[in-house]
Amino acid sequence: MKLLFHGGRVVDPSQGLDTTADILVDNGKIARVGKIAKNRSWQIFDVSGLVLAPGFVDMHVHLREPGGERKETIQTGSEAAVAGGFTSIACMPNTDPVNDSPALTRYILERARQTDLVNVFPIGAVTRGSRGEELAEIGVMYRAGIVAVSDDGNPIQHHQLVRRALEYIKLFDIPLIDHCEDRLLAAGGCMNEGAVSTRLGLRGASRTAEELHVVRDVMLSRITGGRVHIAHVSARESLDWIRQGKRHGAAVTCEVTPHHFTLIDRDIGDYNTNFKMSPPLREREDVQAMLEGLADGTIDCIATDHAPHTSLEKDTTFEEAANGVIGLETAVSVAVDRLVHGGVISWSRLVELMSCNPSRILRLDRGTLRVGAIADITVIDPDRQITVDTAQFKSKSRNCPFQGWKLRGAPVMTVVSGRIVYHA
C-alpha cells in the first residue's frame, strides 16, 4: 500500500527543505518527495496547511517498565509518545531492576516490539545498578541494542569513573548522557536555591551543583574524546560552559526540556508538586538563556524527561514528593506555541531540535525524509488550538505542569515506518 501526503509544508533541514511538497511512502520507506500526481490506488491524505517533518525523537523518556508499571508501561508510554507526535523514544535505564544487562535491554525491546507503535531505543546504565561504583557491561548491552549509556537520576559523583566511561564508550561511538548534579553541593535541596526557596522554607539546590558537573564533563570529554550529552540543562551558567566547550572542540551536546524553557521557580506557587523535578525550575534569566541557546545552536535537542508518577508519589508535601513531570503529550504544542509562534526559532530549527539532532547524537537512521529513508513522519497542525487536559492523556500518570494551558499548534498525525499509528 502506498501513501501519498498531498500539499503539506515539508520541513526537513537534513536536506535543506522548507517548501510545499507531496510525500509518497511505499513499503515503509520514503519513495518520493516533490510534486507528485495522484494515483487512485494510493491512500491519499490531504495535508495542506499542515507541517510535515521527519519523525520526532525524544531522547529522554522514563517508561518505568519493568518495576514501575503503576506509573507507566511500555504500552502506555508508547501510546503517549505517538499521541504527542513522537516516532522514536529513548528510554532511561532507571527501572527496577536497572537496565544494566543485555537481558533487560532485550526485554524492553521485546515489549516494545509487541506494543508495535513507536520505535523504542533503550539506554543502558553506565555503572552496575547505576550505583556509580563500577562500569556496567556496556559492550554486551550495545550488542543487545542500547544507543547510549546514562545513570540518569543517580548522577555519578566519581570523576575518575566518568573519565574511564568516556574513554570506553569510544569503542561503540555512543554518548554518555549525564544528569549533572554534585550531590554534596545540592545538599538535598528540593527546588532551586534562591529567594523563592527561602520564602517557602524549602531546602534549595544550588545551580552550582549542576554547573560543577557540566564543567567536569566538558573537561573530561576534551581529554578523552568520548562523547558526552548533558541532559536537561537548567542553569544559564551551564549553557555558558557548554558553549565554550563546543568552541574548543569538546564532543559535548545538550538538551533542554519544555518545562525548563517555559517555567520558573516562582511557578511552584503554593507547594504545587507538579512543578517539582530534578534539576529544578530556575529563574527568569535562566529561561531567557535557554531561549537564546535554542536559537543560537548551543542547545542541540529538546527532550521531555517524561517522568511519570502517580498521585501516591505526588499528593504529599513538596519535600517528600517524587521528582519529575510528564511531557510526551505536551512537548510539541509547548515548543510550537512558545518557540515557533513566539518568534524564537524557525520551523526548520524546531525540526533540527526535535528530530535531526537527537537522531544524529544517538546515531539512529532517522531524522530525515530523504528518498529511501524509513518513513517516520510527524504531522503538525500549526494553528490547532488546544487546552491541555491531563484527563485526556494516554499516559498512565497526570503529573503535568501545563494542565489548563491554551496552546496553538499540535501534532495531528504520526507515521512510523509508513504506518499511521496516531491520527487526531
Binding site: A195, S197, T198, L200, G201, Y271, T317, F318, E319
Partner: protein, 312 residues
C-alpha cells in the same frame, strides 16, 4: 473585616488591619489568665484538635490552654502512637480528622507546606500553622508583636534586630514578614553560612556584624542555636558562635538603653545568650510565653468567630 472561617497558615495571609485586630483581641484576653477562674464560655461546644508531627511541649500546651480557657474541647492527637507512626499519609490523616468534624486543627510539622496541604484536605475546619519546617510560625510572630507593643506602644519605626540561625528559622521568616508589614525597621544578623539566599526580598536589612545590627536597636530577638542540627558545617563550635553572636553585657551596650531582649525558646544559656542577659532586666522572654496563650486565644476566637464581641 473578619477572620471567621479562615486558615492561619502564613503571616502573608494577614493585612495590617487584621494583625491589629488580633493584637487588640489578645490584649483583651490577657486579663482572663489572671482571674481566679481562668475560663470563659466563649467557645463552648467548639472542638479543637492539636496535631503535632514534631515534638513540642511549649507550643502545644500554649494552644491547649488557649482553647480550654475559652471552653473549647481540645484534643491532642498523639502522632508517635497513632496511625501516622504506622505509615498513614498526611492526606489520609487529614481526611480522618475531617471525618471527626473538628472546628479547628492546630498543626505542626517538620516539612514546609504541610499545614497548607492538610488545609486543602480538611474542608470545613480552620487550620492554624503552629510551625512548618523552615517556612513559618505565624502565632509566634503575633505574640512577639504583642510583647513589643506592650513595651514600646507601637511597631512602626522601631529598630528590631533578629539574631542567629536565620536560614533554618521559621520564627525569623514570620517575624520578618510581620515586622515589615507593620513598618518596623528590621535587621537580620548571623554568620554568612546561616543567612539564606535572597533574604533581602523581605525588605529587611542584612548584616553579619552584631555591632551594626544592635546599634540603637529597640528590640533584640535571639534565635535558638540548634544543637540538634549538624552545625559543624555552618560554624566551627558553640564557643566561637557565642563569641561572635552570643548576647552579653558588652554587646548589649550597642543597643538603646531601654531595649528589650526576646527569645522564642527554649534558650541555650551560654550560647546565644549568657546568664546575665537571660535573667536580666532587659529580658521579656517569660512575658512572651504568657502572651503566647493570650495571642492563641485571640486567634482561636477570631477564626471560630463566636461573635465579634468577646463578651468578657
Amino acid at each position: 473585616m473578619s477572620l471567621r472561617g479562615r486558615h492561619l497558615l502564613s503571616i502573608e495571609d494577614l493585612d495590617v488591619q487584621e494583625i491589629e485586630l488580633i493584637l487588640k483581641t489578645a490584649r483583651s484576653f490577657k486579663e482572663i489568665s489572671t482571674r481566679p477562674i481562668r475560663k470563659v464560655p466563649t467557645l463552648r461546644g467548639k472542638t479543637v484538635i492539636n496535631i503535632f508531627f514534631e515534638p513540642s511541649t511549649r507550643t502545644r500546651s500554649s494552644f491547649e490552654l488557649a482553647a480550654k480557657r475559652l471552653s473549647a474541647d481540645a484534643v491532642n492527637f498523639n502522632v508517635s502512637t497513632s496511625s501516622v507512626a504506622k505509615g498513614e499519609s498526611l492526606i489520609d490523616t487529614g481526611r480522618n480528622l475531617q471525618a471527626m468534624h473538628p472546628d479547628l486543627i492546630v498543626v505542626r510539622h517538620s516539612l514546609a507546606g504541610a499545614p497548607a496541604l492538610l488545609a486543602t484536605h480538611c474542608k470545613g475546619s480552620c487550620v492554624i500553622n503552629a510551625g512548618d519546617g523552615m517556612h513559618e510560625h505565624p502565632t509566634q510572630a503575633l505574640l512577639d508583636a504583642l510583647t513589643i507593643c506592650e513595651h514600646k506602644g507601637r511597631l512602626e519605626g522601631l529598630k528590631v534586630a533578629i539574631i542567629g540561625d536565620i536560614k533554618h528559622s521559621r520564627v525569623a521568616r514570620s517575624n520578618a514578614l510581620l515586622l515589615r508589614k507593620m513598618k518596623a525597621e528590621t535587621w537580620v544578623c548571623g554568620p554568612p553560612t546561616l543567612l539564606p539566599v535572597g533574604f533581602e526580598s523581605y525588605g529587611v536589612q542584612v548584616t553579619h556584624h552584631m555591632e551594626e545590627a544592635l546599634t540603637d536597636a529597640d528590640v533584640i530577638m535571639l534565635l535558638r542555636a540548634q544543637r540538634e542540627r549538624q552545625q559543624e558545617i555552618f560554624y566551627p563550635s558553640f564557643k566561637e558562635y557565642s563569641m561572635l553572636y552570643g548576647l552579653d553585657r558588652r554587646k548589649m551596650k550597642w543597643a538603646k538603653p531601654d531595649a528589650i531582649v526576646m527569645h522564642p525558646g527554649p534558650i541555650n544559656r551560654g550560647i546565644e545568650i549568657d546568664q546575665e542577659m537571660a535573667d536580666g532586666a532587659y529580658s521579656v522572654i517569660l512575658e512572651q510565653v504568657s502572651n503566647g496563650v493570650a495571642t492563641r486565644m485571640a486567634v482561636l476566637f477570631l477564626l471560630l468567630g463566636a461573635s465579634e464581641d468577646p463578651g468578657i
